[in-house]
Amino acid sequence: MPDPRGHPVPFRAWGFAPRDIPLAAAATLIGVLVLWQAGASAGLISTKFLSAPAQIARALFDLSVSGELWLHLSASLRRLAFGWLIGTAAGLAVGFAVGLFTLARSPGMAIVSALFPIPKIALVPLFIIWFGIGEGSKIVTLAFGVFFPTVINTMAGVDGVPRGLIRMGQSFGLSRMAIIGKIVLPDSLPAILSGFRITTSTAIILLVAAEMIGAEKGIGAFVLSAGNLYDTDSLLAGIVVLSVMGLIVSFVLGRIERALLGWR
């Protein structure tokens, strides 16, 4: 029999609003490490194939004290910085040109569309032939890999600038350069910075690949050499360094985004 007072309306707008819980993130990572260490100590995980966190930490400490880590890390960071900066500078220039000028748009997009899908790692041997086994081929590999996503994100950012804002600038008599500098560049910055997140990850992947193909120094070369020697402690220590490198880059980009895009 229906309740003459009616029935309460149930709340239905539940969920679909995930929140960040920093403590849960930290606890998860620590939990995984503890379980991993416990598994290794109890003999459930073979440390021959997967070193325990304590062994990896010890290897990291030894590599750090001996100076070997810094030797490899500095070589990798130098390549990463040069390759990323060259690819980014070229990508931004081409991206803006394609986004702004009719003359550059179709030719630029034709080249980008044709070359972007090529797996860049496949080009490493070609770059070695062209630029030698030294630094040149590695930096060009990184720059090449960074270039295309930068072009595409920059062009998308420029294309996404509301035409109304550009017309507003024109209606106030702003010069073309002023419109680019004061309207187009700031408005496309979110897309460009979002592209940086992709390109820094791409650059780290290509760095390791290039260093594995032909390098004596660098984290990629170090990981490969450790693998050849079945030294899983050092191998995983190298991987931890790469992971930390990625985290630091991500953190720095996050700070830059917060500083430049606080208006959003």
Binding site: S171, F172, I183, W263, R264
Partner: protein
């Protein structure tokens, strides 16, 4: 008072094969407000774009007669329907944009920004970002930015249509006062007929697409003496509605079909 008038002669415009405006000739007299009304899609905003040089007409010419004031920095200045504010700039920064690259030195620029922010009641919001402002406040910024360049002709594209009814009524009073006191020549596009009779010295009625000039109605009562409830304005509004009602209904049906 502005001594500049803006004259459109035989303006026609088409987007590819779609004719939008057909042979429009009209004049915004010096120091007066010309209002453009008409059904949706009749080409009011297109005509405003042509009048301000943001759109090239398929045929016809637009001419500006008379000398702008010596302190005018941008003779033809727009106030946009969507405000067109830069979200990364503060209120003062948005106003400043219109003055950057002009002959004003920094001190004069700051003085002019302070002046127009005072005129539009934005002084205490000078450092706020657009996202921190209501729609009405954002449009005040748009108006302040336009006034800062001391325009000879102000071109306003439905400046109040993005606002809620209460804010629109409040801002309309201020707006009408600002325009009337500044004596600027203005062209004001709206679909709101009560706005048209409150701010216009002339109301040009356009037909449905392709927009043709149906009639120009003159309102002689000074803007500052007009009240929304004035019987003559109410009857004028009703007359305007009778003029465009059938066209508006037809345009609405055509849009639904499209």
């Amino acid at each position: 008072m502005s001594s500049v008038r803006l004259r459109a002669d035989c303006i026609s415009h088409a987007y590819k094969s779609l004719s939008v405006l057909d042979d429009i000739s009209l004049t915004a007299e010096a120091g007066e407000v010309l209002v453009l009304v008409g059904p949706s899609g009749c080409g009011k905003s297109t005509l405003l774009g042509i009048l301000g040089g943001l759109l090239a007409p398929t045929s016809g010419t637009v001419r500006m007669d008379g000398e702008a004031r010596s302190d005018c920095l941008n003779p033809l200045t727009y106030v946009f329907q969507d405000f067109s504010l830069l979200p990364w700039r503060s209120v003062a920064g948005n106003v400043s944009l219109a003055l950057e690259g002009t002959r004003l030195d920094t001190a004069s620029r700051h003085a002019r920004i302070a002046e127009v922010l005072g005129l539009t009641g934005l002084t205490e919001f000078r450092d706020a970002l657009p996202k921190q402002l209501s729609g009405g406040m954002r449009q005040r910024v748009g108006i302040a930015r336009a006034l800062a360049v001391r325009p000879a002709v102000l071109l306003m594209d439905e400046p109040l249509s993005a606002l809620d009814g209460q804010t629109r009524d409040l801002l309309l009073d201020e707006f009408a006062g600002l325009i009337a006191r500044s004596g600027v020549t203005a062209i004001y596009v709206t679909h709101n007929l009560s706005e048209a009779v409150r701010v216009g010295h002339q109301v040009a009625v356009l037909s449905r697409r392709p927009g043709r000039l149906r009639e120009i109605i003159r309102i002689d009562r000074p803007i500052l003496e007009r009240r929304p409830s004035d019987p003559d304005l109410v009857s004028l509004e009703a007359m305007l509605w009778r003029l465009i009602r059938e066209d508006a209904a037809t345009a609405d049906r055509e849009m639904k079909r499209a």
